[in-house]
Every structure is written in C-alpha cells, then in structure tokens.
Symmetry: C2
Subunit: 371 residues, 2 copies
C-alpha cells in the first residue's frame, strides 16, 4: 500500500519510519518548498501543479500538517480515500468551529468571544474579565498569532500586533498544568487511548512531555477519554487525534486539538507498546490498532534551535536520540530525546542529566519537580 | 553522514530504519539485481560499472551481505573507510580461515578436516568418525552447499551433490541447542554484548530466536563473551559481529560467525535498549555504543515463504510485525514478528498463539518447550 502524506516534515518522516515495517511505501506532497522528511518520494509543489501526479502514485492519503487549504483536502477526497476526513481538518483550522464543537459535545473550554475589530476585542476583554488571550481564529501554532491582554485598554495594540481580521478571545485559565491525550480510531470504529501526557512549554514551544502524566486521578483520565472519544466519534475520525487540555482545580478544560500525530506523543516510539506513528498508519490502512500501554515511564525532551552535545547524549544508556536532519535555527525543532525509566524519581534525575547537554533547554519543570 | 551499504536486502532496510533517526542517509549498492531495501537510494550494478559513482555518494561503507568479493571490499577501502574491515569479510567467507582463526584464539570448534576430492572426503569421514558434515569451504548459507555423511561410503554422492572443489568436513557435534551471541565494537574499541539468544532452525532456516536464552549458566555466558571479544579485538572489528555456537555437555562449540547484523538479533528492535541495527550504525559512524540490556523476554518468529494471516497477528497486543515487502516464494524470508513478554511462561503461550497464524511455521520448540 502506497500512502500519500500531505506535508513533508519530521512528523511525516516518523510516520514513514513506522510504516515501512508494515510494508507501506510513502509519497510526500510538500507545499512549503523545504521538505525535511528525508526518505520516501517527495513531490515539491509550491504552485499546486502536481497534485494529480501525486494522487496517481498513492492508494490513500493522510496528513502530517493541518495548515493546508480544506478545498485541497476535499478535492483529494473525491479521488482517493483521505484519513482523517477533510471535515476534521476544517474544524481544527478554525478555532471558532473547534470551540463550538467542543461546546456541543460537552467538552469544557475557557469562556470565549469572537472579535472582528479592536473595539470588539476591547468589549470582549471587558465582558470576560482580564487577563484574556486573543488568538487569530485561523492559522497560528506554536504560540504565533497570539497576545495576552492584561487590561481592556491593551486591545488596540494587541489587535495590531496580531494582524488578523477575526480573533477568538479566551478568558485566561488558571491551570495547574498542561496535559494532552492522544487517541487513535480505526476504520472499524475501535478506539484506543494513550496514557495522558504532561507537557511543559517554554517561549510557546513544547519542551518536555512526561508520560504517563504523574499524579493524575482516575476521574480526570476518564474525563479526558470521554472528551476525545466524543470528538473521534462525532468526526467519524480515522487515525491519531490529539487533544490539548488544561488541568484546573475545577477539572479539565480543552485548549485545542490537532488532527494528527503530535509532538507530545513522540515518547510512544520507545515508551509504548505501539508508537503513535505506527498506530496512525495502522488506522489509515485499515488494520487493527496496536497496543497503547506504556513501557515504564518516559520523558521526551525537544531539541530546539541548536543540537547541543549529541555525542554525550548518545552515551546515556537510557536516552533515545531522534534527529530530524535539519539545520540549526532559533526556535526550530531539530529532534527529540526520549528518556526511559522505571520510576519517576529516576526519570527526573535522568532528564536533568540529559538536558545538561542541550544548551537551549530550559530547566526541567513539571509536577514532579514542583514536589 | 552518508552511509554506503553493500547489499540491499532486509538487513540493509533495517539498518536504514535505525539510522535515519541518527541523521544518517543511506545509499545501497546492489549486485543481485533484485534489491529489496525499499528505502534510501539504490544503485543496481550487476556488471560492476557504477562502483565509483556509489563511492562518490557516501562518506563511509559497511555491508549487510558478506558474500561479495574481498577484492571489491579492498578496492573500496582504498577510497573510503570500510567497517568492518575487508579482513573480517575474508575470514568469514572462508570456513578454513574462520576455523583456523577460532583455533588460534582458543575458541572450541568441532574437529575438522579439509577435503579437495571425493577420496579425501571419504578419508576425512573415516578419520573423524561418522556422522560428519561436509560444507563448501566458501559460499553457502542457510544450509545450502552442505551434506551429512552417515558413513564414509557416502563420500562420492556427497561430493557430487555439493559440487564444490574444496570442502570443510566437521565431526558431528552432539549439541543440546544452538545459540548465538551478538556483540558490537566501537571505533574506540569499546565492546558491548547482547544477551545470548537460543535459535531453532527448521529445514536449514532460522525459525525462532528466544532472548535472553533461558537456562544459561553464567559460566557459559562468560565463555561466549570471551570468544567473541577475542574475535572482535583480533580483527580490530568495528560494528556488529555474530557468533553462532552449539551448546554441548562439554561447553560451547563455535559453528560460524557473520560479520554483520544477524537474523537472530532482530528481537533487539523492541526487546533491547538499543537495536543491533542502531548499534551497528553507531559503531561505524564513530558514536558511543547504545545500551544492549534486554527489555523483558522476547521471541522472534521468522515469516518464511508465505505471509499467513498478518491481519490477525496485528491484533495481538504483544506482537511487533516487521515485513520486508517481498513477494512470497518457498523458503524466502518475508518478515519477522517479535513477541514480548514479562516471563518465559507467558512468552511460550504467546509465541504459539502467534505461530498459529503463520501456516509455514513449524511447531515452537526450544529449551522452554522441552521442559
């Protein structure tokens, strides 16, 4: 089976590495002009001229990147099976649609308003009560296209700095930590949930993911699974879906979802029975889902901006190095390291030791280190 | 770093899958005309015309297949670093050189003679005492080019059936089981040993490998490690080396070695901290060696000749499927499944269940099932 992947970055690379052992081959369709998958066949098509050629070479299509025009995904779906469906893409690209769907399915979100001018942004900030977070309604990821308003009077400056015509304005959530749940749904409708992951961001970029998230109540896990199951079923979703959540004293609050494998699931390559990448390939190919149970405890550390002392990290017996073969650039995801351990105590020590060889890494901080 | 691989079969495929995450790229040099690696760049060169082209595209060279002319390896070594060295290849291609080296290093072997005619074969059989095993001195693997003589009078028929000009004749070893040890040596001379594996063959082809080999004494393990360390150091070896051994009431007896990753080490992909493939890439690239400790107990089942019911195997939560994307043909290695468990009891049950979906698989038999 030949799988077409829309996008050609490191997520596509890891999908292919997981898919070859299942006898899949890969063709990537890159619209950025700078593919980095580094294996499989890559079609670079900045002008959209070679889509037919791409489609003639594949049996079904998936994506590793959700910021492509829904019209393109819909055109593809008329020719070849596309998993997950273009509707999933459409919902995830539009924060208003996403939040509306969350509300319909009973998934708690921060209180929110739409703003289409500096004036309405100020009005929204006043109604919600500051601080609020304003985000472009479409596009934007890794913290881009966002601003925090500490007072309604900051609306004009925020409106100008974001530079979009339609914003979603959210009441600030006083969360204790950020977590994510990754689930996978098969063509037959089977669903499997990975353990919830605790995520630490720095400068808007994910830095550390600890899995299974420590100190998580069974009730909270059940909530997260119920929420993502509702989304999977509502969207008749096939493949891996990620839901980012805030943990608050009043329970979980949904932040956003991603219709794909996710950075907070990279630990599954060594830390789970079946990786998120293999499970996505299994799902879109029509196979049974693989085992999502954890193997010990894991922490993924992103390598951001510069590689650091990889040779020293390769000497650590508990570290698994994944490089994306990309050039160094501030803020760029260059790779990740997964640290495995048998206990959280051991994990903290090992993560700190590994991070000491990554000059760009912020100090390891999560619920484990806060005592 | 661009790694050139001589040969382009499933071993090369798995080397590449392990090497991409370390930011290596791969160019395969195929002399068979039927490469199956399925990823990386493949240069097919049945006439030996494109070797210079291949060498211009790579930084260093290794192999996944040892049956290529030593003269080719030597020519390559004059242009680019080759690991392991051509001498390792030369020794492994010639059973007489191999057995002589074993003897020099104090590694026990079956008693052996050289035969260069039907008459000398008969004489050797008489001297050693039947049964004896006659093997072509060069070439031959997976049980090809071999014959068992139950009486010296069978020499003429055996000589003709093998059809080689120089044979090695070995006294039959009364072994309790076959095991192998896989070790890796870095450019700096560091050595790491994987746990010894117990191997079961059927019709001359490896079918099952259980690791760590059950019921193995510490003294036997120490012997195997001493033997392979002596080989690694003598050959100034860089990369993964495999030594196949017979376990007998009088201790271990060496059968043969392979200067490469080995089918009996495929379990390391999920069953060890670092796979044999990653460790080979680490070694030939000049990195530190990875952790060779086992993760639970494992059994690798080869998929031979026909694929069987892969969909059912994908449903087993403890099975890891690796397909080589090759067409079915009797006796052909099409893939393997690694079964993981926390105990040998559980392992046996799981292996039997998995094997029931592989019509070509012989009944699971090893020291665990013999009680």
């Amino acid at each position: 089976m030949r799988i077409g992947v829309l996008g050609a970055g490191q997520l596509g690379r890891m999908l292919a590495l997981a898919g070859y052992p299942l006898a899949k081959t890969f063709v990537f369709y890159d619209m950025s002009g700078s593919p980095s998958a580094g294996l499989g066949e890559v079609i670079i098509d900045r002008e959209g001229e070679y889509l037919d050629d791409f489609l003639s070479r594949v049996d079904r299509v998936t994506y590793e990147f959700e910021h492509l025009p829904v019209s393109v995904a819909e055109a593809i779906a008329r020719v070849k099976p596309v998993y997950p469906s273009p509707r999933s893409l459409q919902v995830c690209q539009n924060r208003e649609s996403e939040k509306t769907l969350f509300g319909q399915l009973g998934i708690p979100t921060p209180e929110w308003r739409i703003a289409d001018s500096a004036e309405s942004l100020q009005q929204a900030a006043r109604e919600l009560g500051c601080p609020v977070v304003a985000k472009s309604n479409t596009e934007g990821y890794d913290g881009k296209g966002q601003a925090v308003l500490r007072a309604p009077e900051e609306a004009t400056a925020a409106w100008e700095s974001i530079g979009h015509q339609r914003l979603i304005v959210e009441k600030f959530v006083n969360f204790s930590r950020e977590v994510s749940i990754i689930a996978v749904r098969s063509i037959d409708g089977d669903v499997a949930f990975y353990p919830i992951t605790e995520n630490t961001h720095h400068e808007g970029i994910l830095r550390y993911s600890v899995a299974p998230a420590p100190k998580l109540s069974a009730a909270t896990t059940a909530d997260a699974e119920r929420y993502i199951r509702a989304l999977l079923n509502e969207l008749d979703y096939v493949g891996v879906l990620t839901l980012e959540l805030f943990e608050t004293p009043d329970g979980l609050v949904a932040n956003e979802m991603a219709p794909r494998v996710h950075n907070s699931g990279h630990w599954t390559i060594e830390g789970a029975g079946t990786s998120q990448f293999e499970n996505h390939i299994r799902a879109v190919s029509g196979h049974a889902l693989g085992n999502v149970s954890p193997r010990g405890v894991s922490c993924m550390i992103n390598i951001i901006g510069e590689h650091g002392d990889i040779e020293r990290i390769l000497e650590l017996p508990y570290a698994h190095v994944h490089l994306y073969n990309k050039g160094e650039r501030p803020g760029r995801k260059l790779g990740h390291v997964t640290i495995l351990a048998d206990s959280y105590e051991e994990l903290v020590w090992r993560v700190r030791n590994c991070a000491s060889f990554l000059p760009g890494a912020p100090e390891f901080s999560c619920s484990l280190t806060r005592g």
